[in-house]
């Protein structure tokens, strides 16, 4: 599967800063899309997008933190690098708590900026893979029947087959059969692997 091309989405209400940013990133070999308001970027992101966001913190109408909050619940939250005129501790704490990749002053040197962008892109890749795997695992768990799911719950709690049979009021043989079936559907070889898959799929 070929890796889709990542894009750096830049938002800044200052046109001159925006175009300087675009030039540097392009010259450094990145694919860039520029937006002068956060709303324009949000409407662009309703289409599939890969990469990261660089946004100015202070902007009229919708500022960087509001953009972060708006994207947090979306299908595809891209990592965000914040830019600010000067270090404002209160705002930067809020932004970092909201999962900001980085928080840079506008006058930071290119190496720092590009390093932050690379980190953000790597995180995007990683998070996207995680999300894909989670989706896949959830699909696997989705194939289980109701009874198999009940049995799985007991297995994950470390119960033995005999105990499960008496708890559910069914024969121990039936428990064994359900167990074999769900192991096959989930592609797990051991109970330990089963537990790990369940954690990865964020069940419970």
């Amino acid at each position: 599967v070929s890796e889709p091309r990542q894009t750096v989405f830049v938002v800044d209400d200052d046109a001159s800063h925006l175009s300087g940013m675009e030039r540097l990133l392009r010259a450094s070999g990145y694919r860039v899309e520029c937006f002068s308001t956060a709303r324009e970027l949000i409407s662009r992101l309703s289409n599939p997008a890969f990469g990261c966001i660089i946004t100015d913190l202070k902007m009229p109408e919708m500022d960087g933190v509001e953009l972060q909050q708006a994207l947090a619940h979306s299908e595809n939250p891209l990592p965000i690098v914040f830019l600010t005129g000067h270090g404002d501790i209160r705002t930067s704490v809020t932004a970092m708590r909201g999962g900001a990749e980085d928080f840079l002053v506008k006058t930071a040197p290119a190496e720092e900026l590009l390093a932050a962008v690379d980190r953000a892109l790597a995180r995007d890749r990683r998070e996207r893979e995680d999300r894909a795997r989670r989706r896949e695992l959830r699909a696997r768990f989705g194939m289980l029947t109701g009874r198999e799911r009940e049995v799985l719950g007991h297995v994950l709690r470390g119960r033995l087959n005999k105990q499960i049979a008496s708890d559910l009021g069914i024969a121990e043989r039936s428990v064994k059969r359900h167990r074999t079936s769900l192991m096959r559907k989930l592609e797990a070889d051991s109970v330990a692997e089963l537990v790990q898959l369940a954690v990865e799929a964020e069940l419970n």
């Binding site: 200052d14 001159s16 800063h17 175009s19 300087g20 940013m21 030039r23 540097l24 392009r26 010259a27 450094s28 202070k58 902007m59 009229p60 500022d63 830019l83 600010t84 005129g85 000067h86 404002d88 002053v105 506008k106 006058t107 040197p109 290119a110």
Partner: protein, 608 residues
């Protein structure tokens, strides 16, 4: 005893004395025309009395006729002089009557000298000796001249003129006792007419007009001397009141002056130089006075003077003058223009006051105020510096990104020169932008003298909006600026007015900090206040101000905020009041507070 000769000589001597006295008066007071007319009348009365005595001693009818002819000349002069003296002295009466009398009497004198005999007798056929008051005198026998009627007419006109003027003067109260003079003139005229006809019937040797005239001269002289006594009294009173005024002026550090525009003389009374008690009036011309004023203040003084002369208010100015030791002293001057009936300025009268002490205190206070304002401005700048630094980071960041991009582009082969060129252009533009921001910061920090400028309100508030824009954004608030159309320009130092606005806006931002974002709208309004003032208002929708705090708000160190210095509003008041305006706070009925202050409007551009 020759009583007739003695009486007439005495009458002549008396008239001559009075003529001499009033001639002297006239020499000193050329504007007193009544003195001149009186002198003429009195001299003519002297001539009349002497000629009459001469007439009555004539030997032959021809002599008598000839002497009579000469007698007509002084009599004519007296009648004419009296005819004009009446309106001049009584300030009443009809000028045309005086003119008519002059014409009739003039005609009579002309006929008198051009016809045979004289204007009274066509021919004197003989003389008849008459014994009168112990003297034997000649009385005429002859035929009347037909022109004699003119003499009677002129006397009748004079009586009518005198009575008319006297009654008018009494009605208008232009003179005390006006009827005394007209009564005496009427009486003397009638007496002369009666004596004249007695002479014509041969009862009297002559008309004895000289006696009647002497009575008039005495009465007139009595009246005129009353005037002299009165004016003497007035002069004494004036001197007393001037002395009192000088004392008051000295006590109040005032000196009084008067500029006679016609003669271009300035008279100064009082002041510090008043050590000797002499009436120290020093005449000087306006130009010399203006020259003595400090050049910086001269134009202001001149323009205030010309405005006052043009009828636009009082003269009012402050100026510096150097005393003999070369020390500058401050004076405050106030004056009024005195105008004639046709509204032309005649003289300017005023008072100047030495305000050097007060001025020094004022300058000191002003310096203090500037210092304080500077301190406060620095703290305002601190508040704003974060916003300004943020603003500065935009162009600086853009310059950095562009330069870095250009460095990368230059490493490529071939380098994209067109792109690099546009990068360089952008860098230059951003550099200029950064410079402008720094200039604004510097202007805020700079300490300087008050600069009064005409400030278009639109520009002022637009600059303000730019200054607070980022701060408002950062705090999630909206600024709405409303300026009423056709608002005149304000007058003041832009930095000061911005400072007051900044204080109020920054307070308003604090006031709405805890409100919902929908209520974080602040209105900045400018509208015409009372005539000559512009009213600025900052309206917030915050929690408002408890009414009992409304009046304390502007006291120094009063603050409702934990981190407030309590100086912002106090300094805003100091600044506003330094401009003569006022600042106050109100609670809004719909919640929140409104702060208002007034700034004077700039005077309209003259000549455009």
């Amino acid at each position: 005893m020759p009583w007739v000769t003695i009486i007439l000589s005495m009458a002549a001597a008396m008239s001559l004395t009075l003529a001499a006295i009033h001639f002297r008066v006239w020499v000193h007071r050329r504007e007193s025309r009544e003195s001149l007319l009186f002198t003429v009348a009195a001299l003519a009365a002297v001539a009349t009395a002497l000629l009459e005595a001469w007439l009555m001693h004539a030997e032959t009818p021809a002599d008598y006729s000839e002497r009579f002819r000469w007698l007509h000349l002084p009599v004519g002069i007296i009648v004419i002089a009296l005819a004009w003296l009446i309106p001049v002295y009584l300030k009443a009466g009809r000028a045309w009557l005086a003119g008519l009398i002059t014409a009739v009497r003039g005609l009579l004198v002309t006929i008198n000298f051009s016809s045979p005999g004289n204007a009274t007798f066509r021919e004197i056929s003989g003389l008849r000796p008459v014994t009168f008051l112990g003297e034997t005198l000649a009385a005429p026998i002859g035929t009347d001249s037909p022109w004699r009627i003119l003499a009677h007419l002129s006397v009748l006109l004079l009586v009518a003129h005198a009575l008319d003027a006297g009654l008018t003067a009494r009605r208008l109260r232009t003179r005390p006792r006006p009827l005394l003079l007209s009564g005496v003139i009427a009486y003397a005229a009638i007496q002369s007419a009666v004596f004249s006809s007695l002479m014509a019937r041969g009862v009297l040797p002559g008309p004895f007009v000289g006696l009647g005239f002497t009575i008039i001269v005495i009465a007139l002289s009595y009246e005129l001397s009353n005037d002299l006594i009165r004016s003497n009294q007035m002069a004494r009173d004036l001197e007393k009141s001037e002395g009192r005024m000088r004392l008051a002026a000295a006590a109040a550090d005032l000196f009084l002056w008067e500029w006679d525009m016609e003669r271009d003389e300035v008279w100064v009374v009082g002041g510090d130089d008043q050590e000797t008690d002499s009436p120290a009036t020093l005449p000087m011309t306006l130009d010399r006075f203006l020259e003595s004023i400090h050049p910086d203040d001269r134009i202001r003084m001149q323009s205030s003077l010309s405005r006052a002369l043009a009828g636009e208010g009082e003269l009012q100015a402050q100026y510096r003058q150097f005393d003999d030791s070369g020390h500058g002293r401050w004076f405050s001057v106030r004056g009024t223009v005195i105008r004639d009936a046709r509204d032309r300025p005649l003289l300017v009268r005023g008072a100047s006051r030495d305000i050097t002490g007060r001025k020094q205190a004022e300058l000191e206070l002003e310096a203090r105020r500037r210092e304080l304002a500077h301190v406060q401005r620095v703290s305002t700048v601190e508040q704003l510096s974060s916003a300004l630094v943020h603003e500065l980071s935009q162009p600086l960041g853009a310059i950095l990104r562009n330069a870095e991009a250009a460095a990368l582009l230059l490493q490529k082969e071939p380098a994209d020169l067109a792109e690099i060129r546009s990068i360089v252009a952008d860098i230059l533009g951003d550099d200029r932008r950064a410079t402008r921001i720094i200039d604004r910061l510097r202007a805020l920090l700079k300490r300087r003298d008050l600069a009064f400028e005409k400030l278009p309100v639109g520009q002022l508030l637009a600059g303000m909006e730019r200054l607070v824009q980022t701060e408002f954004q950062a705090r999630g608030a909206t600024l709405r600026v409303e300026i009423e159309p056709r608002l005149p320009d304000a007058l003041g130092d832009p930095v000061h007015i911005q400072q007051v606005l900044l204080n109020l806006l920054s307070n308003a931002l604090d006031a709405v900090a805890d409100e919902d974002p929908g209520r974080r709208t602040i209105d900045l309004q400018a509208s015409p206040g009372e005539s000559g003032w512009i009213e600025f208002a900052v309206v917030d929708r915050g929690a408002g101000i408890p009414s009992r705090q409304l009046e304390n708000l502007f006291e120094p160190f009063f603050s409702t905020k934990p981190q407030g210095t309590g100086l912002g509003l106090s300094i805003s008041r100091t600044i506003t009041e330094a401009y003569g305006g006022r600042i106050w706070a109100e609670s809004n009925p719909e919640g929140g507070a409104t702060f208002r202050f007034t700034i004077r409007t700039a005077p309209p551009e003259s000549g455009t």
